[in-house]
Symmetry: C2
Subunit: 336 residues, 2 copies
DNA sequence: CTGTTAGCGCGTTCAC
DNA sequence: GTGAACGCGCTAACAG
């Protein structure tokens, strides 16, 4: 492998091997049966000597395919997104594809993400931001014929697959359980985007509805579900209130787990003094004392999502739109 | 915007606007001053009408630049990697670049990652797998003139920048502190890759060294630092031993925090019965009871890394190799 | 059966 | 404001 400044091209390999570029391409792509053994060897030797590596841009241009997929998420470091990233990355790897990640944490970034996607930086995308894309943005993407899997409860399949969660019923069940066991003052520990976003939150709607149906006090919604430190502080603040809650429903398991800790640190018993319910069904909920009662899917995995995407990406003709719903349930353990 | 099957090209926009493709390109890239206002408007209108979006592959090919960077990490869902991903993503976003993520969790994947990188799927990369790349792999990458920032204590700059952490001294300090406060049986809660990998671990070396210097018992190294559930189980197992430890040094803060919980659940006092030290200096260590004593950087951020990379990526000529060392310290809070 | 010729994919930019 | 070359790999059609 000779050192040189410009990357060698198939032309140079061909020249060195004394063959045409076509032959080089056939050899390098394993299209054997078209090339004699001896020639094959010469080409490989030449490529090796020059340190030839094909240009992925040129290849993508010619193939009209990038062999990359894109993951659009709301943030990094959230259990569900991380798992999605892992599962998609594993599936991509298996298919010989790469993964681009775009973090969409503002409307401006959403626009930029849509632009990028329309420029065909990837052959398909899983779209799962915490704030769903606008209809117009989705249409822009399907308009550019990009294979798409959208994770959202707010849209129906329309040129793309949809993966949704049916969380409402399970949440209702959780709140009914809290009410039935005598909780009168239920606090809701919310994600930031539930408070600022325009999108409805099934969880919070279930909360408001339950308060209403059971004739329970004024709503008590505070932020703090996004991270553990925030959750701890939020719970501390809740406990300092004169109308201290006797139950906390946290929009994330991480926050709920932290709530249990904060309550214990404050000398309160869970669930006797304060009941705690989380969302997500993290493994970690099994090691708290008491174990965390939660609302969530049977297991956190996104193989389905990855499969839907690659079905579309690798398909010859556009497949029918599909829709998968993951049913959540109320998983009663010890904290409520 | 007319619906059509093939994506429109600059040629078609040019034709519709009655100008040349060169003009279209100039207009679309804001190279004004070369184009009259009226023409400009016509081009823009034509592009809009056709729903023109430029092909990023063609652009990359021509520009010899992908406007993408790559992040190579050992896994997803680990606090430090997640933060790195966030910081890199933010920097990339600002520069109008995208981020590809490659998860390298096996030697085979490392080879594939190096291949991809050599094919120029990105204009530069931050390489930070839990198991460092082999020298030959690094050389293969610098050989293809790829701007590179390597996070590793095991290599010296050589055509790439290196970001290292000086954790040894702080770890030694931590162990000395444990010994000085009378701990005689110190357990080490290790990452899986510390046990299986060939790479030396500064933390564990500091541990072994300390045992030796202070004449402390046989080593007690168990896996469990990788995730919270594993950490909880590992600590339970440690406590069931006849030679129960009186101190636990966990290779991650997440494990250390979990250890505190497990100890409390077992009815033991921290630090009186068992001292706990973590690694990483997570914010979360401030909300445990007692607050977590840890070894780590003053703050977990990777702006430096991102800056180094983009300095290289955006530089006209290859800059000098640089090396940044983040000094860790022993941060004594309540748990030891 | 083995290998070649030649054009294509599409945006960018220099010389006129 | 334009013509045309160029970046580089892929493959259909063709020749020996």
């Amino acid at each position: 492998m000779t050192a040189s400044h410009r990357r060698p091209t198939t032309r140079e390999v061909a020249a060195l091997a004394g063959v045409s570029v076509a032959t080089v391409s056939y050899v390098l792509n394993g299209k054997d049966g078209r090339v004699g053994e001896e020639t094959r060897r010469r080409v490989l030797a030449a490529a090796d000597e020059l340190g030839y590596v094909r240009s992925s841009s040129a290849r993508s241009l010619r193939l009209r395919r990038t062999e990359r997929v894109c993951l659009v998420v709301g943030s990094i470091g959230v259990p569900a997104y991380d798992q999605l990233a892992r599962d998609l990355s594993a599936a991509a790897d298996e298919a010989g594809y790469g993964v681009m990640t775009i973090v969409v944490d503002s409307p401006a970034r959403a626009d930029k993400a849509v632009d990028l996607l329309r420029q065909h930086v990837a052959d398909g995308a899983v779209v799962a931001p915490s704030v769903p894309l606008a209809d117009a943005q989705l249409r822009a993407l399907t308009g550019s014929r990009l294979p798409l899997v959208v994770m959202s409860n707010a849209v129906a399949p329309d040129g793309f697959d949809v993966v949704r969660t049916s969380e409402a019923a399970a949440c209702v069940e959780a709140f009914d359980h809290l009410a039935a066991t005598g909780r009168r003052r239920i606090a809701y520990l919310a994600h930031e985007h539930e408070l600022t976003g325009r999108q409805p939150s099934e969880r919070r709607d279930a909360y408001l509805d339950a308060l209403d149906r059971h004739g329970l006090g004024p709503e008590l919604v505070v932020p703090g579900a996004d991270d553990r430190v925030g959750a701890y502080r939020a719970v501390e603040a809740l406990l300092a209130r004169p109308d201290r809650p006797d139950a906390i429903f946290a929009a994330s398991d991480r926050a709920a787990i932290t709530a249990i800790l904060a309550l214990r640190d404050a000398g309160l018993a869970v669930p006797e003094d304060v009941a705690v319910v989380g969302v997500g069904n993290l493994e970690e909920g099994r090691i708290t004392r008491p174990p965390l009662t939660t609302v969530g899917p049977p297991a956190m995995d996104f193989h389905d999502v990855a499969r839907l995407l690659f079905d579309r990406v690798l398909a010859d003709e556009t497949p029918f739109d599909r829709e998968i719903t993951t049913s959540w349930s109320f998983i009663r353990r010890g904290s409520a």
